[in-house]
Symmetry: D2
Subunit: 382 residues, 4 copies
């Protein structure tokens, strides 16, 4: 079986890592790896180069992002992605294409494969969230031939949408597979990495610290700038050491970046260190040992629950998503954010929760795909 994995963000990589590892030891699986979009840009941390360094073969590098970060360029990028992935699939002739979650280019990829009569496998479908991701995720479900949702609840939704139950496999989230295999208490590497990577002060992680990731919410430049300002100032007033991770490219990420740059000019001595991206080997211990994860990353919902780390979730980006008890939801308001962080600091760590998976999703997915009898023609089940 030629299984094509498509990686378009650094986050995607963590989600396919355990599949890559399982495939490497499996003579029945020929992996094809395409890295594209933000995942091959130096400014977000080029995943293709990292993979190559690690001895993993990258079959295609695909640029499809049209500069601009507005809804117009998002749509143009989506169109370009369709065109580019068509060529890649034509050349590589995969037996199945794995599409991850719900970013705008993922619908392009699912569309391209299905138009070319190539079966589509979809990870992390059936969830509920805010923003255009919500529409994209379910549209991908309707184009996909086999589904690997992270939770039973998501699997139930996929079936209710009319997908055949025998095509739905709630295997858990693959991102937890990677975490499950790591030494989560070793903060030394990330301590040292601050010397050579990222910008800002060097944060002492033996002391209580926060981790922040704040993505734009697919809207206005000015609004995103204002949102990040509220968070920056909340964190700054608390005065705790903070590791801040740059947002993904997305319509609006310019506003976030601008906010961070202006803040840094003014507060050159703030105890904050900013990374463009972190490999999961560094990120997971960082998340595990943080006093809290702040922002709107899905890792605050999912990985933090798995690890028991408190989360302050800001704004609408994760709204509707199934969640554990480790989360306090707040709006885009400095005072509110600050108060919620304080409350989490007072509470301390939570119990680990396995609703999102047991750390063995990757091998399960591979086992399903190897024997799955794909029918290209779909038919709604009612």
């Amino acid at each position: 079986m030629k299984l094509c994995l498509v990686i378009t963000t650094r986050g995607n990589y963590a989600k396919v890592k355990s599949i890559i590892q399982a495939a490497e030891n499996d003579p029945d699986v020929e992996l094809q790896i395409i890295v594209g979009g933000g995942a091959i840009l130096a400014k977000y941390g080029n995943i293709a180069d990292s993979l190559t360094t690690m001895g993993v073969n990258v079959d295609r590098r695909i640029h499809f992002l049209v500069e601009g970060e507005t809804p117009v360029t998002m749509a143009k990028s989506a169109g370009l992605a369709v065109s580019e992935f068509t060529t890649a699939f034509e050349n590589l002739q995969p037996d199945v294409v794995m599409v991850i979650a719900d970013r705008f280019e993922c619908l392009s990829i699912a569309m391209t494969a299905s138009y070319m009569n190539i079966p589509v496998a979809h990870m992390e479908g059936g969830e509920v969230s805010g923003s255009i991701d919500e529409s994209i995720r379910h549209a991908i479900t309707k184009l996909s031939h086999v589904h690997f949702p992270a939770t039973q609840e998501a699997a139930d939704r996929i079936i209710r949408m009319g997908e055949a139950p025998e095509t739905v496999f709630p295997v858990g989230a693959t991102s937890l597979d990677v975490i499950a295999g790591l030494d989560l208490d070793n903060l030394q590497p990330i301590m040292e990495k601050q010397a050579s990577a990222g910008v800002g002060a060097r944060v002492d992680l033996t002391q209580p610290y926060l981790t922040v990731i704040q993505h734009p919410v697919t809207t206005e430049y000015a609004e995103n700038l204002e949102h990040v300002n509220q968070t920056l100032n909340a964190i700054h007033e608390l005065g705790m050491g903070t590791i801040w991770i740059w947002p993904n490219m997305d319509a609006g990420s310019d506003g976030i970046s601008k906010g961070i740059r202006i803040f840094r000019e003014k507060h050159v001595d703030a105890p904050m260190h900013f990374f463009k991206s972190l490999p999961i080997e560094h990120y997971a211990p960082l998340l595990k040992n943080a006093q809290a994860i702040v922002g709107n990353s899905s890792s605050g919902i999912r990985e933090a629950a798995f690890l028991g780390t408190p989360c302050v979730n800001i704004g609408s980006r994760q709204s509707g998503r199934d969640r554990s008890v480790n989360i306090i939801d707040v709006g885009y308001d400095k005072a509110e954010i600050k108060a919620a962080i304080q409350k989490q600091l007072d509470h301390g760590r939570y119990e680990e929760n396995h609703m999102w998976g047991d750390g063995k999703a990757g091998p399960k997915i591979l086992d399903v795909l190897k024997t799955f009898d794909f029918t290209i023609q779909k038919r709604i089940c009612y």
Copy 2:
């Protein structure tokens, strides 16, 4: 309200005609009309030119078809469509975009509009059929903000897929609106048109005749050629006068065209006339008075049921679609096709059936859109 109608096939035009008429008398509606794809190619009958001649303003003409008619060019065309419609929507700034049914470019259009935060209205969702259209149709549903299915059954499916019931309006098929307003017993124009348009013998429509439309089934050139050959020979052996309408552009239509061309070289005197396309004003009386409609056009399912015309439906293209009693389904086999036509000739006309609408769908759609309170952020209802 700026309502953008997108017409990409001649069939689309019949489906929006009653909306255009209703909008012309409505000061609250500003129509934006985009004609693209097959609908602006001379070889399929340029709808944009027809509209302009009729005094209807065409705002944009969009070429997005990459020549080749393979799955690769279908996918490339879909990508190009996204890119081109992005520019059109950016320039026109519609309040809502109307997407029709389930062709490959329709998903491109729905995707583009939704990525640009423009509400999407979808006609003819919720149906069930074969081919990639099945996946496309439901994916469009998941991207759409308001739904105008043709039947109650389709409306129910849309709601089961998780769409909010208050966004689903089973108004009937708009294509029937046009038919309802026509003089269906006047065959004179189509009789005369044979002298100046199309190729082949001139068929006497005062005698019993057949109508044929056979589309490719999105697959192999050779297979489509074989399919059309079976139909051509079945018809030829029956020896009845036949009006044959050329297929839409689609991956595979080259095979159909080739089959017809070869047949015509060999049977230059066969009593068949071939049109590239017919306006609904000519097509509806032709369908109404035919002894049977043969092939795999949706008009055999829907318009023929509305009119009571017998239908011989060939192959898988319409499989799964709700249907009335006027249909005999057959495979791609000359003998089987011939026998089914004979059976319909013996049976004669059926009673008219309104399961697909009462001929007033267009005005109903406009009434809904004018007052509909669009929420860009969708959320699955379970």
Copy 3:
């Protein structure tokens, strides 16, 4: 040396055939063959399939033609070609790309390669002609690193344009190489081919006959239709057997095709046979033995001069091009065309002329390329 040949029309194939043959016996040359555009469309005769059948490996098939055949779609196609060839060159990593002559996509190809720092070799530069080809040809010269003009006169022009003399090699036209190696008096294959390919009457080639190729002149549909009508009627009135070869795809070829189709409906018994395309093995004997070649093909100027066949050259398409004495130039007028054909019939064959090459251009080109010391940075020589 990895030499990438790009074939985008059937005519291109004849121009690279002797290079392919020479390369097959040369261990120092690794050929990369890309077939695209009109050359992979069934309706123009798929060259990629022919090559594969002949055991020649086709590395990439590239669709870049946007349907429509207007200046807008020509420009869109040129843009798409840039995007598609970028991917192909990225994957294939050629050492040099061979660009042929002056079609619209050739500038796209030269531009793409030069932007990617891949040396460009250009065949048939330095000539003078009408239409947009004139601008395209010289623009390609300014992007190319080594030049293979067909004549000394063309070589002189290239040098006058500021190209370094040591990069200009007047090797002759490669299309003549193929002809030089053929049995030019065997008309049997083309006689027989009429039974199985093309449409129209079967023409007896043992009797005096004409050959016609008429391309659109990159302008209006209606104008091209009128032009071809004049030619069709001139030929028809002469009543001679005629082999007519369909035009290349180009903005305007729809008009030509339509004219031919209408004519054929009316004159079903005219002694004309129409081929979509002919391999050079069939075309060369046909040209050699024709009473005259009529139309606006460059083969009337070049190959006909080499063979001594009289030519009636219609309209502006070949204007400005260097020419031998075998040509009578006429306008788009039935009477004028008819009179000129009659004059050529009266004159009979001309002496063979080698101003366009001696039939050994292909091997000469390969010899140059194998040792050429490419400098990517160009500099005008004054």
Copy 4:
């Protein structure tokens, strides 16, 4: 006359400003302004927004840059530009399109217009320089219908390339028009601007200072980073106040940006201020009063000569370009750069030189265009 100006970099704006001003008072000219590429990205300073603020209507904003800044993305961007400009020209129907100089997208624009039978006017052709610009510039000349070179020497080259002498108008550089009309001794605005825009220390411009602009040389990331490091350290060792202007987007600008960012992290107190871009009203006085302009900007060659400002020109980017006596050319070496700056400091200002124009080019261009009799069909003049 509908004159379409295309602005794709901030530098372009200065080059068309005097044309815009002249056109505003001319009832015979209807301006169409397209702003695209780097000129509409916030990170380079959005020119479209500036124009709108100034009351100049922007007809289209076109995103065509594919993220990545490699030769592959440059080529992809060039292809996308062709596609996007086709739509813009189709909608705007200009009578003539003005193409500026020699960036990669300029060839796309010239190609698009000429394929659509729209006359092309070209500014700043006929010059000689390094990099791919050299090829691009001359290829654009071969596609253009009227030429506005900056110098007589450039005009002579254009004619030698085979362009008709009556289409060549050496009007001088339009960028000097703007400068000629400014108050060049008022440094107050740029002094104040440092408080609100850009990053870094605030530089006192009443003291001797340097101005630096260093673009990538279309090659390797690492090489560009090394180049900029040499310059940064040379300037730093001199210790003078410096206004540094960010490079244009181009394959390689990531390397330059990275170098600057790393330098700033290390030398937070260096007396340097970094602007993303400056309007010519601020840039011209800055250039006029600088002790020297350092780097590889064309403004060091041209505007600095016009103003008499000493220039230290680094590397190959401007090589081959006609130049005045104000320039010292150096390699990418810290010591060499430092020595050359010192030499210019010792020398002081030069005499003003008008070889590049007298400050009245814009109105001259408009006068020519208004009465020019365009012939779409070009023909080489030998």
